[in-house]
């Protein structure tokens, strides 16, 4: 298969349709009978939370995965894609969330090397003429003669899109194309993409979390939720709230827990806490956040709105530029001594990556909180016997399934790793528990067991801060709910009187 860029980019936009796509990974169904139709020359948005199946769907379309069931139609003809090369050959291209350009090469060099049939000897004067001709037909320009490392993030993203067009793509999948861009850059890039679809050069399927981008740029939207089709249609007929409800679901809590009354004393207080976000471009600002003893405060929000940073600030991993955190009215910065003294425990998301040393044994991982203390005294000598006894106790109490206490913790299933971390963090005197997405990727029974433990801790008087992207989880567990959007808290409500459409409204970034 050879690609001739000179003829291909004059072709018009393709239509792509996926019918009854189902993808199973072992027992787990990542995608359940999902259909999507992208009309030629349209800008189609694919919305959904983490784990909703968006990536699985586009990977099936692009031939990265072989779907368990279902078909892909390109221009109304069935297309068999065994790998991404086949997809590229019929004009399907994908722009990834992170740049795939070579930073030290120029734009022109990057375009050239991306070609399947890149020549062994390059006639640069011919190639340059071709590229100039190609660029002249494009609605936006990127300097092709400087190294990519000198381009801004917006220019790089535009070059990624140009690269796909140069390769002859008539259908483009954009995977969260604006996550590395500033809002202004994001606007510019997406308006160019919109122009390309209007000119019927290309059809676009964009994965996103951001409602604003959908309402502003997309023609149609498809919403996935837990691997299933959750809604969709013409963007002009839908509000951000409608989409939020589709994305989050609006089922009432399945399980009702008995709740002990909440005390009045504030355990955790954040006032005017300021810090840089991960990109370094924006700020996190928490003006006022309090969690009382015996209360679960749920922090809802679409991922990427500062929740990860909030967790990092609370664990002392991200420096604050301003403001103060107090626990039980004492200044708190997350050192081990403070965590011990004020009885603060953490349950970070993805525990194997964030809370465990994968190659250390189950017993050792369970001992992270207790290995250096004997009662109130600091230990110098580690006691392997105590660590082992403690591990056996935890394994029985929390029903952790492991072959042996000496097995590396990475050999455990996800649910059992989470149980082990929960066992470690909930054992002993706890006053404040900070949790982030505790049930992400776990099966139903593990989810129920873990939520029970959290409620149990709450009823014993623990103040719980629950950061979660799963609105059901927030609704089920919380006493009080705040919404986080663009690094700040913009809404607060009592859980029993919470209005889910209102929460969706604030999650979508309105205030």
């Amino acid at each position: 298969m050879t690609i001739n860029p000179q003829t291909n980019h004059t072709q018009s936009a393709a239509s792509v349709e996926a019918i009854n796509m189902t993808m199973k990974f072992g027992e787990f169904t990542a995608l359940d009978n999902v259909g999507i139709k992208v009309k030629p020359g349209s800008f189609h948005a694919l919305l959904g939370e983490n784990g909703a199946g968006k990536s699985t769907l586009v990977k099936c379309i692009m031939g990265f995965y072989h779907a368990t069931d279902g078909q892909v139609l390109v221009d109304n003809k069935e297309a068999q894609m065994d790998d991404p090369k086949d997809a590229q050959a019929i004009g399907l291209g994908m722009v990834y969330q992170h740049f795939t350009l070579v930073p030290s090469l120029t734009g022109a060099e990057n375009l050239l090397i991306s070609r399947v049939n890149a020549p062994n000897i390059i006639n640069w004067s011919d190639e340059n003429d071709d590229m100039t001709a190609f660029i002249d037909k494009m609605p936006f320009k990127v300097p092709l003669d400087v190294p990519v490392s000198r381009l801004s993030a917006g220019e790089k993203q535009k070059l990624e899109i140009l690269k796909q067009l140069y390769l002859g793509s008539r259908f483009l999948i954009l995977d969260e194309p604006t996550s590395v861009l500033t809002p202004a850059e994001a606007d510019e890039v997406l308006s160019h993409v919109k122009k390309l679809t209007k000119d019927n050069k290309v059809s676009v399927l964009m994965i996103t979390h951001k409602f604003k981008e959908v309402t502003k740029f997309a023609d149609e939207v498809t919403v996935l939720r837990r691997g299933k089709f959750a809604g969709g249609g013409d963007v002009s007929t839908l509000t951000a709230n409608d989409m939020a409800v589709m994305m989050m679901g609006s089922e009432t809590p399945k399980v009702e827990f008995n709740r002990a009354p909440t005390a009045d004393d504030n355990i955790l207080k954040l006032s005017n806490v300021k810090a840089q976000d991960r990109s370094g471009l924006k700020h996190i600002l928490i003006k006022d956040l309090k969690v009382r003893a015996g209360e679960i405060l749920g922090v809802a929000g679409v991922s990427g709105n500062g929740q990860t940073e909030l967790m990092e600030i609370l664990t002392g991993q991200r420096p604050m530029t301003d403001g103060a955190i107090t626990v039980q009215d004492h200044p708190f910065s997350g050192t081990r001594e403070q965590s011990k003294k004020y009885q603060v425990r953490y349950l970070p998301e993805e525990p194997l990556q964030n809370a465990c040393a994968a190659r250390m044994s189950v017993a050792e991982n369970l001992a992270f909180r207790i290995f250096d203390m004997q009662g109130d005294k600091k230990r110098f000598w580690k006691s392997d016997q105590d660590i082992k006894t403690f591990a056996h106790k935890m394994i029985t109490e929390f029903n952790i399934k492991t072959v042996s206490t000496d097995s590396p913790i990475s050999t455990l299933s996800g649910g059992n790793v989470q149980r082990a971390v929960l066992a470690r963090e909930l054992t002993g005197d706890v006053k404040l528990l900070v949790i982030s997405n505790p049930c992400f990727g776990l099966d139903f029974s593990a989810v129920l067991a873990i939520r029970k433990r959290i409620i149990e801790a709450r009823n014993n008087g623990v103040a719980v801060l629950l950061i979660s992207e799963d609105l059901d989880e927030i609704m089920e567990l919380s006493d009080r709910i705040v919404v986080m959007s663009e690094g700040s808290i913009n809404y607060e409500t009592e859980a029993n009187s919470a209005d889910i459409t209102k929460i969706g409204h604030y999650m979508a970034g309105h205030s």
């Binding site: 081990r336 990556q353 809370a355 097995s407």
Partner: protein
């Protein structure tokens, strides 16, 4: 699986002695790898038209057969034990520090330079001073690598390697200028230490200096530090997953600086013994590559401080045989380096074998019970 989970204790103890079998892979796999290295090197010798059996016989003869060969081997082992720890200790925190040679050089210059001024002081007072001076110099130098890692995010492998070159340049400069003994004409050296400042042989019948004992003690103490203290456990958590360590509030920065500095101090002590026990002054022969061989040893020992001891003795024996092989087999002295290199590569390849064999799994033995 279910009954295992509910009754973890009995299933553990019913394994009895068998539960130790999976750990055998930590011995069996390196031995297998070394044997593979021997075989590949034998092929290399055969291609050169030399006899592998002659070679191994000579290595044994020169390195391990007589009191004299043991003396030769163990004297070389002393600095290697210490240099290997300079790699193994930071490795517990997940850092690959390969610049121990620099700490040895600066430690040696510190001992040689200060020792030259302590001509009329008794050894009881002066030697501890020199010992500490070498240790502090080494600790500063490698501790700086840890500091740069934390404060500026500088890659510790590159930093330590480049700083070793700088350290050697500084050492050469000092030996050839301010601290140069005017009497050292052909080989610039610091002034010879007085007899009182010389570290002698241990009373074990062969001429092996006290540095070997210091190396053994350092290995044992390091092993205890890492395996038996809460400090070592904290370091292993940080080395295993730095984010988990931060969430636990462990002082990651202090641990990194502390362990790199400790490794540097131990390498500095190697410099102290090279000056006070071997050369009698600091000169360029002190930094003869012990730091680099130390890297090899630490990796072969999988950064286990106790495993460093037998591996050091093995490699020291190989190096001690280099001269004899050169003379008897008419091979260049780099032959030993080829041999060491091949063994190193086979050991690195063998890393991928862990957990692949049925005997290394608990389940395998459980099924048999």
């Amino acid at each position: 699986m279910k009954e295992l989970a509910t009754t973890p204790l009995p299933s553990q103890s019913s394994l009895g002695i068998l539960k130790w079998v999976p750990r055998l892979e930590f011995v069996a796999i390196p031995i297998f790898a070394v044997i593979c290295g021997f075989v590949i090197f034998s092929i290399f010798l055969v291609l050169l038209g030399k006899s592998p059996t002659d070679f191994f016989a000579l290595v044994y003869k020169a390195g391990f057969s007589t009191a004299f060969s043991w003396q030769n081997t163990l004297s070389r082992a002393a600095p290697l034990l210490l240099a290997a720890l300079c790699v193994a200790l930071p490795a517990k925190l997940g850092l690959v520090v390969i610049g121990g040679e620099g700490a040895i050089a600066l430690g040696a210059v510190a001992a040689g330079a200060i020792g030259a001024y302590l001509t009329n002081v008794s050894g009881v007072i002066a030697l501890p001073i020199l010992f500490l001076a070498s240790a502090f110099t080494g600790a500063f130098w490698i501790g700086l690598v840890g500091f740069l890692r934390i404060k500026r995010g500088v890659n510790e492998t590159i930093a330590s390697l480049l700083m070793a070159y700088i350290a050697i340049a500084i050492s050469n400069h000092l030996i050839e200028s301010v601290f140069r003994d005017p009497a050292s004409l052909n080989k610039p050296s610091t002034a010879s230490l007085s007899e009182a400042l010389r570290v002698g042989a241990m009373p074990i019948g062969i001429d092996v200096h006290w540095g070997f004992l210091a190396g053994l003690i350092a290995c044992i103490v390091s092993w205890i530090l890492v395996e038996k203290t809460t400090l070592g456990f904290s370091a292993r958590i940080a080395g295993g997953n730095i984010r988990a360590a931060q969430v636990q509030g462990l002082p990651v920065a202090k641990l990194i600086i502390g362990f790199t500095a400790l490794g540097g101090a131990i390498a500095g002590i190697a410099g102290f013994y090279e000056v006070t026990a071997v050369h009698g002054s600091a000169n360029a022969s002190v930094f003869a590559g012990y730091g680099y061989t130390g890297i090899l040893i630490a990796f072969l020992a999988r950064h286990n401080a106790l495993a460093i001891v037998p591996i050091t003795i093995m490699l020291a024996g190989f190096e001690a045989s280099s001269g004899l092989i050169q003379r008897r087999m008419d091979l260049p002295d780099a032959t030993i380096l080829v041999f060491e290199g091949i063994v190193f590569v086979t050991i690195l390849f063998s890393e991928t074998l862990y957990g692949r064999f049925r005997f290394s799994k608990h389940e395998y033995w459980k099924a048999g019970v």
